[in-house]
Symmetry: C2
Subunit: 157 residues, 2 copies
DNA sequence: GTGAGCTAATTAGTTATCCTAATAACATGA
DNA sequence: TCATGTTATTAGGATAACTAATTAGCTCAC
């Protein structure tokens, strides 16, 4: 009954994991995965902070800096810095908002759109390569947990 | 209802999420959760880099700096810096390895052990508070995905 | 034994992400 | 109109990571 399976074999036990156990292991996984991911980004020419902004702008064109900051859960000055760097890199353009002149509307340039697409592909490939080493049961377990994880993340919103 | 079950399948929905979809959304979740987590750490008096080292030393006392670096998937110089800071903070002590004098054995001080325990509790509490807002189905979905996520992370060995 | 080559740790210097506090410009409503 | 709130920026600093170069110690082939 009590099998301490260190291997990532079949994760299909009844499994009532204590929340302290979850709180212990999930963050560990997150931090390690985040670190791996950083290495995956750099060759694309986009860094960890820029990529989500690119994506965000694909779905919400003409965002203000505040909106971008809120979506990424960073403070305004942090987002200002990211956007400025991206502007210098030719990925985004800033335009004044005519209705509210305090705001700056940020939009993707053509190059930004290209890079966003390329980065998306590169990341998907990076991920797919890893998922290949998992059983289909494991992939499906992760898939099923995704909505819950997204819910968890959006709680602070 | 069509059910294409994987090996030893769980009695749950089919759900074939495209790997590109997973590769898109999972990293997003990771990065946001990581950011939330950073805020959770600071009040404890341990930072994001130190906490895993504390934990690692609970399970593997007398680790060398290299071993710690490998476990955290960071380069040696990064771990040297973390360990030095922790030594200055009185959380760990360094001792020479008598068998191999190139190595430095790192161990928890009494204070390090205390802080590790406190940090563990604080993080569990932070997490539990969040899990309270999820349904038990969601929590269980995350629990079931955890071994798979750990497997994913450990692929880079 | 001893020198070539490996491994462990450090130092120095750089980059990327974040933050807070202070300012400036604009908007809104009493 | 002016007090208060919002948007964005600047300045300055803390973390967290990296590469490259250096020092020290181990190992083994010869």
């Amino acid at each position: 009954m009590k099998k301490l399976t260190a291997t990532g074999g079949a994760p299909t036990e009844p499994l009532a994991l204590a929340s302290s156990e979850l709180g212990q292991r999930l963050p560990m996984v997150m931090s390690l995965l985040g670190r791996s991911l950083r290495h995956a980004y750099t060759p694309i020419g986009v860094n960890l902070g820029q990529y989500p902004v690119l994506n965000s702008l694909l779905e919400h064109p003409e965002s203000s800096v505040s909106e971008l900051a809120a979506r990424e859960r960073v403070k305004l000055p942090s987002m200002t810095a990211v956007v400025n760097q991206m502007e210098a890199d030719g990925l985004v353009a800033k335009q004044p908002d005519l209705n509210d002149r305090r705001c700056v509307r940020v939009s993707l340039t053509g190059r930004g759109r290209e890079v966003a697409g390329a980065a998306r592909l590169a990341r998907a490939a990076w991920f797919a390569e890893r998922l290949d080493h998992l059983s289909s049961a494991e992939v499906s377990a992760i898939s099923r947990a995704l909505p819950a994880l997204e819910h968890l993340v959006h709680l602070d919103h």
